[in-house]
């Protein structure tokens, strides 16, 4: 079996989550845990401060039921899976505040566009991600 990241559900109520590295254009990095929501149409949502620290480029901001989402290209990595991408993310303090109600240590939210770059799944005890099968 290939490498995987397997995490016990966490928070109140219990939520699926994954651990990512955010990597800046200056090659500084921060390890953060993100709540997983397969119904979220955005790859990743962080708070505004995190976006300012790690954004590589701007992009098309959008509106949401949580207010404005400021867009930015972010570099995300999961070293144990040799996963390293630059993808479009968004910033919303309001949304991250809601995520932190489940667990204050969550840094934000990841959604289906990010999960589709990996393989993912879960059972009664864990949520896991692993590198996509080649071919």
């Amino acid at each position: 079996m290939g490498a995987q990241q397997k995490n016990i559900y966490r928070g109140e109520p219990a939520r699926a989550w994954i651990r990512l590295h955010l990597v800046s254009a200056g090659n500084e990095w921060r390890e953060c845990d993100f709540l997983v929501d397969t119904g979220n149409p955005c790859a990743i949502i962080v708070d505004a401060s995190t976006m300012r620290g790690f954004v590589w480029r701007g992009s098309v901001s959008t509106d949401s039921n949580f207010g404005a989402l400021e867009a930015g290209w972010l570099r995300l990595a999961i070293p144990e899976l040799e996963f390293d991408v630059k993808t479009l993310g968004y910033a919303s303090d309001k949304l991250v505040d809601v995520v932190k109600r489940s667990d204050p240590k969550f840094a934000g939210l990841v959604g289906l566009p990010l999960l589709r770059m990996l393989e993912y799944g879960g059972n009664g005890g864990h949520f896991w991600v692993k590198a996509p099968a080649s071919g």
């Binding site: 929501d37 701007g58 992009s59 959008t62 039921n65 400021e70």
Partner: protein, 77 residues
Amino acid sequence: MTSNQAKNQRAYREVEAELGARYPYGHFVAFDGGRIVADAPDFDRLTEALDAIGKDRSDVFVVQAGVKYPDEVFILL
């Protein structure tokens, strides 16, 4: 959003429909000062192109040609 970001987002919306015809789907296009300043087939080569013209900055605005960016999204938590 800074004034440069707002200017670039407006410029993008004005040419959004044309980008899909001008570039292959998914091609990376960079805007600065309200105009297109570089393009490349992937993000890293776009960074090289921006660096070559002194615009390797985080406020440069990047989109992918042909990709539909929504005006609004709905998130349930």
